[in-house]
Each structure stands twice: as C-alpha cells, then as structure tokens.
C-alpha cells in the first residue's frame, strides 16, 4: 500500500513536471496595494488583455502569468522578485513601475539567469554601467521623455523654467533629462518627499514657483500625485501666468478622475511620450478599442507598455519554437524587436533600451466627450538615450 502510494505520488509529481513544461511562466511585478495600485491594476488589466488577445498561447505553450506586488517599496519588490525566481521558477520577470524598485530587484532576477523586462521604469544606471544582456525594456530610459519636453520648450520660446519633481531615482533622472536639452534659465528646483508617505500638498512649492517669475513650470508627478498636483495648480490660478509642462503626470489614469471632478484647467496641457492612444497602427487600435470596451477608460501608457512586454516575450518564445532553455535564441529574437508594438516599429540599442519616436501629446475631448490625449507632433525620431555609450554591451 505504501509503495502504491509513493508510486502514485511520483506519477503525480511527474505529471506536474510534464504539465509545467508545456507552459511559459512569466512573473509580473507591479504595485497592487497602496495608492500606487491604480497604476498596477491598469498594467494588470493590460497584461490579461494581451494574454487574451494571443488566445492564452505562445506557440504551443500555455501562458501562465504570476503577479507580484511591490507595495510601492523597493524591499517588498525585491522579495516579490525573489519569490517569482526561486519558488515559481519563472523564465521571464517583467513589470516594474518604479525605478527604485527595479534597481533593488535587478540582481535577484539577473543573477538567477532570468530575463528581466521593464514595462515602465528606466533608471539611468541600468541603461549605462549596470546594463545586462538579459535585460530589456518596453518603455524608455527615464531621461528621454523629459529631454523631448526640453526640446519642445526651446521650440516654444520658453526662456526660464521652474522645476518640481519627487525626490527619488526617476525624479532626479527626469530633472537631469529636461536640463540636458532645455537651453533657457532654470529659476528654481524643488524635490519633494516621495514613497509611502509622499508629500501631496504643494502649496509652498507652488508659491515659490510663482514668485520665481519663471515663464513655465515643468513637473513630473506620476500616479495619484499627478491628479493632486493638477488640482492645486488650478486652485492656485496659475494657468495664465505660469503655463504647465508635464511628463508622466497627465495620463489615462488621472484624466477620467479630473474629468469627473471637472478640473478643466488640464484641457490643452501638453506632455511628451513615446506612445499615445491615437497612434495609427493595427495593434494599437485593437488594444485601445478592446481595453476601452472592457474597462470603460482609455488605457494609460503604463498599460500600453505592459501589453507590449507580453508580446515581446511571445516573439522570443515563438522564435525558439518553445524551447525555453535556449536563452541565446530568445535574447537574439527580442533584440530584433520584431513584434507588433502598439507604439509602432522601434529598435533596440546596445543597452536593450528602445530607440524610438517621441511625440508631443495634447489633452483634448474625444468624440464622446471623454478627456484623452492626441498626438500634436513628433518631437524626436528614433531617439536613443544618452547613457547607451556607457554600456559595455555591443
């Protein structure tokens, strides 16, 4: 009897192994609790939609996405990554909204020989000296988007600028980015407290910005801080005297809320980005239409990048015919960026950061009266981040 049991157990275990071999496991680390969950849920919806769009299959393999929650904290994100790598033994670890979380989790995934795919964060370190052959990004390097905004400011004849940003890895990259291209004078800078007890009342900073007499105000406030900032900017009545230029602040997440509360000061405001729901390609049209049908709102850029990350993985798995031990083959396939991205065609630089277009987006009302963004013009074509030359990869 005992023997029979253990045989049965062995068979079950073997069956388990066999079943595992017929699937591709993807870990997806994002923020599912705290105020940051609003972004994480958007990404989660996009990942599930991507899996649905590919019929739950990559080649012959079933897709199994395991979500991990970083709780908006680097240490929790690292724990979630460790769990995915060691316990679930995933082949790909994707996700990562926050630069400090990605930096903390990077070694856990890469040292275990997994692919690490950022669907948002793009800290300068990982684009430069810390670049790795198994790291890929479906977003951007942090500096690029504000660099595009700096270019826009020059073109619009803005002579002086006041800058506000949260005090963490990406916030500093954003400020470095805009200062890299903006040719005018920076009248002042404020780095505000960030993290779980982030500062959300910007009265003191807005008063300083106004008193500085700058021509424009540049801010980076992702997630819920973005909505809070826009409201206070409007309440302070700065729209006419201190025009607002943002990156990653006004997006598909904040706009429906701002519309519900009728903060119409945001209409017409401009932001730069590598993607927009109005971009004209088949993949994007399908993504935006189905996302809207399912969740009632436009997808955010976070969602678009998460959606892309799953299709990037699909291209790798299919290129090696489902042989997940062929890391070299999958790496070579991803480097081609041959999948249909919702942003259109792009390529990878030596550091595996996208070389891609950046657009100026403007907040408008769509045909149904919903607030969204549309492409005003192309700022950069095939733009590469400034840290690529520090990366030793070829």
């Amino acid at each position: 009897m005992k023997k029979l049991l253990s045989t049965a157990l062995a068979v079950t275990l073997l069956g388990g192994v066999a079943a595992q071999a017929a699937e591709v496991k993807i870990g997806f680390v994002t923020t599912l609790t705290t105020g940051g969950a609003v972004i994480g849920v958007d990404q989660q919806n996009a990942v599930n939609l991507a899996v649905e769009h590919m019929g739950g299959k990559m080649g012959d393999l079933d897709v199994n996405v395991i979500f991990g929650d970083d709780g908006f904290k680097p240490e929790t994100g690292k724990q979630a990554t460790d769990k995915l790598v060691k316990q679930d033994d995933v082949t790909f670890v994707a996700g990562y909204i926050w630069s400090h979380v990605l930096l903390a989790s990077r070694k856990s995934a890469l040292d275990a020989g997994k692919f690490l795919i950022s669907a948002n964060a793009g800290p300068s370190q990982i684009a430069g000296k810390l670049c790795h052959e198994n790291f890929f990004s479906t977003s951007w390097q942090n500096d690029q988007t504000p660099m595009a905004m700096g270019e826009v400011l020059n073109q619009q004849g803005v002579k002086s600028l006041y800058i506000m940003s949260p005090n963490y890895a990406a916030g500093k990259n954003m400020v470095a980015g805009v200062e890299r291209t903006f040719k005018g004078e920076v009248k002042g800078k404020d780095f505000t407290k960030w993290g779980k007890d982030a500062q959300l009342d910007f009265s003191a900073e807005l008063a300083k910005a106004k008193a500085s007499g700058a021509d424009g105000l540049f801010v980076f406030y992702p997630g819920k801080a973005g909505g809070a900032f826009i409201k206070q900017y409007q309440q302070a009545g700065l729209k006419d005297t201190l025009p607002l230029y943002t990156v990653f602040t006004v997006d598909g997440i904040s706009l429906p809320k701002l519309q519900a509360a009728n903060f119409d000061g945001v209409l017409g405001s401009k932001t730069t980005q590598q993607w927009d729901p109005s971009l004209d390609n088949a993949q994007n049209k399908r993504f935006v239409a189905d996302f809207k049908a399912k969740h009632g709102t436009y997808p955010s850029f976070y969602a678009a990048q998460a959606y892309d990350s799953i299709f990037l993985i699909k291209s790798a798995v299919e290129a090696v015919g489902g042989d997940l031990s062929n890391m070299d083959g999958m790496r070579a396939a991803m480097k081609q960026a041959s999948y249909d991205s919702v942003r259109g065609k792009y390529s990878y630089g030596n550091n595996h950061m996208p070389v891609q277009n950046f657009y100026l987006r403007e907040v408008v009302k769509d045909a149904d009266g919903n607030w969204t963004t549309t492409v005003a013009k192309t700022v950069y074509e095939n733009h590469q981040d400034p840290y690529a030359k520090e990366c030793p990869l070829k």
Partner: protein
C-alpha cells in the same frame, strides 16, 4: 526673499498646522484620556474623506456632503470602538499597536474593495474654488482660507468644550486620573465611546477638508498619522492646548523648511549640494525638533496636570 512670498508661506504653514491640529486633537484625546495608542486614527481620516467624496457626488454639493459625512464618520467611529477598541483598553500598549495596525490593514483593504484603488477627486463649488487677494501681491486660494477658518473655529469650540462644559471637565479629569473618575461613579464606558467618536469626527473632518486639495486615496491616513504623533509628543500627550500650539509650530516649520532651506544652504555650500541636501534635511526638521523636545522636556511643552 520678498515679503509677499514670506507671508504666503506663513499662510500655507498655518493652514497645514490647523489641518494637523484636527487630526492630532482627536489623537491626543484618545491617547490622553483612554490611554489608548490608536495607530488607526489615520484610517478614520481616510474613511471621512471617502464618505464625503461619495456624498459630494450624490448631493452635488461639497457643503452638504461634509454635513452628512460628519455624523456617518461618528457612527463608524462608535462601531469600531464597540467592536474592536473596547476589548483592547485593559491590555498593554504593544497590544494596542498590534490591534490597531491590523485595523489599518482592514480599513485600507475595505476602502480598496468599496471605492476601488484609484482614489476619488472631490470637486468644489465655484465660490470655494476661486482665489482671494488679501493685499497687494498676496493671492491665496479661497478654499485654503476656508480650511484656516474651520480649523480656528473647531479649535475655539474644543477650547470651550474642554474648559467650560461638564463633558470637558470629565475629559480633563479622565486625562489626569481615569481610575478616580470611574470610582466617582461616572459611566466611563459611555465617556470613552463619546471621546472616541469625537476623535473620529475630528480626524474625518480633516480628511474631508484635504480631499479637494489632494484627493481621497487609500493610505492617505498613514501619511499624516506619523506627523500627528510628532505633534502630540511635542505638545504633551493629552493636552489640547499643547496639540494646538505644536501643530501650528510643526506646520510652520515644515512649510518654511521646504520653502527657504535650499536658499539658506546655498549661502554656505554649492548650488548642487544645496539642492540635494535641502529636501532631505527639511523632511527631517520636525523629527529633529521632536528629538530635542524629548531630550530637554520629555513630558512635552504643555503636559496635562497629573495630580
């Protein structure tokens, strides 16, 4: 540095201080009188904000929403006191911390389930959403002025309540010696329920007032509760006057630090070093003050009379 900017920043500091006072006054009441460490006080601040946000969309008026949300928040407070808090009074402070920490998780997750993860932006009526020119060059948002007005009114009301009413007398007596109060035949259970509900309403009101500026969001209470504890430690635990003065001091120090510290630092160090260190130091200022107070006057600035 010009005078108008200095004035505006003092105004902003005062507004932040009064908001802190609303949260800290409830905390100091509960801590001082019930001898209960309520980490979940911030949860009531959040619940108040969300309830008010829902009522705002339901009634279409922020003022009505606040008036309706106040009693509802009080009821939530009483329910929490009856079901959870009451069973913890007799235990020691570590159990209070564990119990109320669990309560934070429950409140945050319930809010997530009811209102979703996104948070709610609260619209203001037009007459509150404008700006007022106090004098030449000093323009302030009307709503922030309104927060200051409300804060001062509540402070005056609490001062009257604590010093000139029978309930206030019991509250003061409770803060000094709880056992003696119950020995004198006062129904301490009802008093505790009332005090807890009052604390809930004050915290809820603070949440309602901040939500049109930031928004009602999950975890918003955890952002303010630590500062509120700093306030009551500096002011003296259980002291209403202490909470008021400490809250204003903290509000002013925090705002002034954020505004002028980098300019001050630029005098003695390079611009780049000043820009990096000023935000870090200004975030620490209030804790430095707390450490100083704890070292020099551990009972706080205005401790209630114990004997």
């Amino acid at each position: 540095m010009d005078v108008a900017l200095l004035f505006i920043q003092m105004f902003n500091g005062l507004q932040l201080g009064l908001l802190l006072f609303l949260v800290a006054s409830g905390l100091t009441l509960v801590f001082g009188i019930l001898d209960f460490v309520n980490l979940a006080h911030g949860g009531l601040y959040m619940i108040g904000a969300f309830i008010c946000a829902s009522f705002t969309f339901l009634t279409g008026s922020f003022v009505w929403a606040v008036l309706l949300a106040l009693p509802v928040t009080a009821i939530v407070g009483i329910v929490i006191e009856r079901t959870v808090i009451r069973h913890l009074y007799a235990r020691d402070h570590l159990d209070h911390v564990l119990g109320t920490f669990g309560l934070i998780l429950v409140l945050d997750t319930s809010t997530h389930l009811i209102w979703g993860p996104a948070g709610v932006a609260v619209p203001l009526p037009a007459w509150m959403d404008g700006r007022l020119e106090l004098f030449d060059g000093v323009v302030v948002p009307t709503f922030r002025l309104l927060i200051i007005g409300t804060g001062l009114t509540i402070a005056a009301g609490l001062f009257w309540l604590v010093n000139y009413t029978r309930l206030g007398m019991l509250i003061r007596a409770g803060a000094s010696n709880r056992t003696m109060v119950s020995a004198l035949g006062i129904d301490i259970q009802t008093l505790f329920s009332l005090v807890f509900a009052l604390g809930a309403v004050l915290a809820g009101l603070a949440g309602m007032l901040i939500s049109p500026i930031t928004e009602a969001s999950i975890g918003m209470g955890n952002e303010i509760i630590i500062t509120a504890f700093v306030v009551i430690i500096i002011g003296g635990i259980g002291s209403m006057k202490g909470a008021f003065i400490a809250a204003i001091i903290i509000g002013l120090i925090d705002t002034m630090g954020r505004s002028f510290l980098d300019d001050l630092f630029k005098i003695v160090m390079s611009t780049e070093a000043a820009e990096t260190s000023a935000p870090a130091v200004s975030a620490m200022l209030i804790y430095i003050l707390m450490a100083l107070i704890l070292a020099l006057r551990p009972q706080g600035l205005f401790p209630p009379k114990v004997r």
